[in-house]
């Protein structure tokens, strides 16, 4: 059962990822990116990491990629350039190196993992959500709170840089 799910989800994910690269129309590319991310979240669910799977859908598939679609559809005449053949000379070897590195890291991670206090037995006893939140709100409370400041700053910055200039000119005159 688990193996079937793995093969279905991963082959669909790879297929959609190929679509991201090769679709000429940028909307299609973004839609297949959504499909890739949903398939990866399916992989997480199949492995029993339901929290990460849900976060993957909520944050990536829904929030970020839908935001991409919004930006692409609101920015007028968004022209993506088709890839130029001369760049393939650089991108192929670099991409292959990154592939090797990723493959090494994932194999290495699979071999090295499960050394913390949250072993599979503990996880099946409590749940992913409880385990993650316990660590997040005790040991990692401080970075968690600072992250909220980062979001605040980013929001302020987006407003300042995005707001219309003539409003401020009038304020400065009065």
């Amino acid at each position: 059962m688990e193996l079937t799910a793995f093969w279905i989800f991963s082959s669909l994910a790879v297929l959609s990822a190929v679509g991201v690269v090769f679709f000429r129309n940028i909307i299609y590319a973004v839609l297949s990116l959504i499909s890739t991310l949903i398939m990866i979240s399916g992989l997480f669910f199949a492995m029993g990491a339901e929290l990460i799977g849900a976060l993957q859908i909520i944050i990536y598939a829904v929030a970020i990629v839908v935001f991409y679609v919004l930006v692409i559809s609101t920015v007028p005449e968004f022209k993506g350039k088709a890839f130029e053949p001369k760049f393939i000379l650089i991108s192929l070897p670099v991409g292959f190196l990154i592939f090797l590195e990723l493959a090494f890291v994932s194999l290495y991670g699979a071999w090295k993992s499960n050394t913390g206090i949250f072993t599979p037995e503990v996880i099946s006893e409590v749940s992913n959500v409880k385990a993650v939140s316990t660590v997040l709100f005790t040991k990692y409370l401080f970075p968690f709170e600072v992250a909220s400041l980062i979001l605040l700053v980013a929001m302020i910055g987006a407003i300042i840089i995005g707001k219309k200039e003539h409003v401020i000119d009038e304020e400065a005159k009065s």
Partner: protein, 489 residues
């Protein structure tokens, strides 16, 4: 349930007393935010910000040292407290010169003030991190705020372009750092510096550890604007409002140097061969490239941006040697760089407000005949960056040079000396234009009280430290030894 309950029961309440400087900065930022929203009283905003910085600087000197709070994630030791004090000090000087500059350029926003405070908070978190997560989150807070600050020049294309480049390259740097952290976590199973240091020992350097360290070096090198990851620096520095450039070039950089030193020494003490080589290469490239390109610049602000790349090279060169002498030299140079860097950039910010000043080297013609005091200050800053006694820049370079020779790294020491000689070409050019040319215009200059005070303060500190560097040397020595003692912790 037992595991979770045990985990929670073992935790106490974090000690908030050691966080007082950070708390004061945060509250000041929120107060300034409210004032800016409700009133538009520009003078009040400046005063409240400066007052908050002053109040935060007192506990950073008096607080009890050596405490680790937030479950081992936040360390308040003499190293972090010293750097916090100097970061607050440099931010204070940026804040008091900010308003006249922004008003003369018609680009005033009250947001500058609390964004600077948020960036300062990020840097303070950076320097007191004892965990890769805290370090990462502090770095992010500081960098994201500075991207915004750099792009806030109204209706100025250069500023937007520089901020955009900085955003893209800084984002790349952050991504590389997080990838490096992920590799190190995968290798050691921990984010804590102490545990990482225990796991990565001399005999056990494998691909995971080496790749993680190399990626961290690349990402941090990008943040410290070392060659070949410097492409954002000249544009972002030239485009940003000049006091913000001073903030980026001094406070942000010094915090980065401090955190680089801390991560390298405390997290990877036994992998020193890798980071020695990595930083030596980056430092040599920065020194050579920064100095040679600075020679060709006619815009003095851009020239100082390249000179700050070169200074990254001088400071990071100390990381080529894993000795306490080298760490002392690094701390000493980054502390005194605060005064030279702030002096140089705030000098430009003060003159940029004046009529017809475009930062071009021709504008400096005959400055000494018209304003001897101003020209003297610039002379002191330039001599200090060049490293001529009796300015303190001499001792900074001397310390790095001696540290390199002490560890038999001759090639880098030679590069440092040769490149310092090359740098005379552009630092002295400014001095020659000021003192040996006839004035071309006779427009009057008006300096605000804050600017005059800052320039005089920086120049006199450079001279006093140049004659009597013992205070700073002792302090740096203490901190360097402290870091080494902290390794086994």
């Amino acid at each position: 349930m037992s595991v979770l309950q045990e985990l929670v029961a073992g935790l106490g309440i974090p000690n908030f007393k050691v966080l007082i400087p950070e708390i004061i900065i945060l509250i000041t930022a929120l107060i300034v935010f409210t004032i800016e929203l409700l009133t538009k009283a520009r003078f009040l905003i400046t005063v409240v910000t400066a007052l908050g910085l002053f109040l935060a600087s007192i506990p950073s000197l008096t607080i009890e040292q050596g405490d680790i709070t937030f479950y081992g994630l936040y360390v308040v030791d003499s190293f972090s407290l010293t750097f916090k004090f100097f970061l607050i000090l440099s931010t204070f000087f940026v804040v008091i010169v900010l308003r006249p500059y922004l008003e003369s350029k018609k680009t005033y926003y009250g947001e500058y003030y609390y964004l600077i405070l948020f960036a300062l908070l990020g840097m303070m978190i950076m320097v007191s991190s004892s965990n890769l997560i805290t370090f990462y989150i502090g770095l992010e807070l500081a960098s994201i705020t500075i991207y915004i600050l750099a792009g806030m020049f109204k209706k100025d294309y250069l500023s937007k372009e520089g901020a955009f480049k900085y955003l893209i390259l800084g984002g790349t740097g952050t991504a590389i750092i997080s990838y490096g952290i992920a590799l190190i976590y995968g290798r050691t199973g921990s984010f804590d510096f102490a545990t990482v240091a225990d796991s990565i020992v001399q005999g056990s350097l494998d691909v995971g550890a080496v790749a993680g360290i190399v990626l961290l070096i690349i990402g941090l090198g990008l943040k410290a604007s070392s060659v070949p990851f410097h492409f954002w620096t000249p544009d972002a520095y030239q485009g940003a409002p000049t006091p913000i450039t001073a903030f980026m070039a001094v406070a942000a950089k010094v915090a980065t140097f401090a955190v680089i030193l801390r991560v390298m020494v405390e997290a990877f003490p036994f992998a020193y061969e890798i980071w020695n080589l990595g930083w030596a290469l980056l430092a040599a490239a920065s020194m050579i490239f920064g100095n040679f390109v600075a020679l060709k610049q006619d815009n003095v602000k851009r020239m100082l941006a390249y000179s700050s790349i070169a200074h990254s090279g001088y400071i990071l060169a100390a990381l080529a040697a894993p000795t306490d002498v080298a760490f002392t030299a690094l701390i000493f140079y980054s502390l005194v760089y605060i005064f030279m860097g702030l002096g140089g950039f705030i000098f430009l910010s003060a003159l940029e407000r004046q009529h017809g000043w475009s930062n071009h080297i021709d504008d400096f013609r005959g400055l000494a005949k018209r304003y001897p005091m101003l020209a003297l200050f610039m002379l002191i800053f330039m001599f200090s960056m060049l490293g001529i006694p009796p300015t303190v820049g001499f001792f900074g370079k001397l310390g790095i040079f001696l540290a390199l020779i002490g560890s038999d790294i001759w090639w880098l020491a030679v590069v440092l000396v040769v490149m310092s000689i090359v740098s005379a070409g552009y630092y002295l050019r400014v001095v020659i234009y000021m003192y040996m040319h006839e004035p071309v215009s006779s427009a009057r200059f008006n300096l605000s009280l804050g600017e005059a005070f800052t320039l005089a303060f920086m120049a006199s500190v450079i001279l006093i430290l140049g004659i009597y560097p013992t205070v700073f040397l002792d302090m740096s020595q203490l901190l360097g030894n402290f870091l080494i003692q902290g390794v086994g912790r």
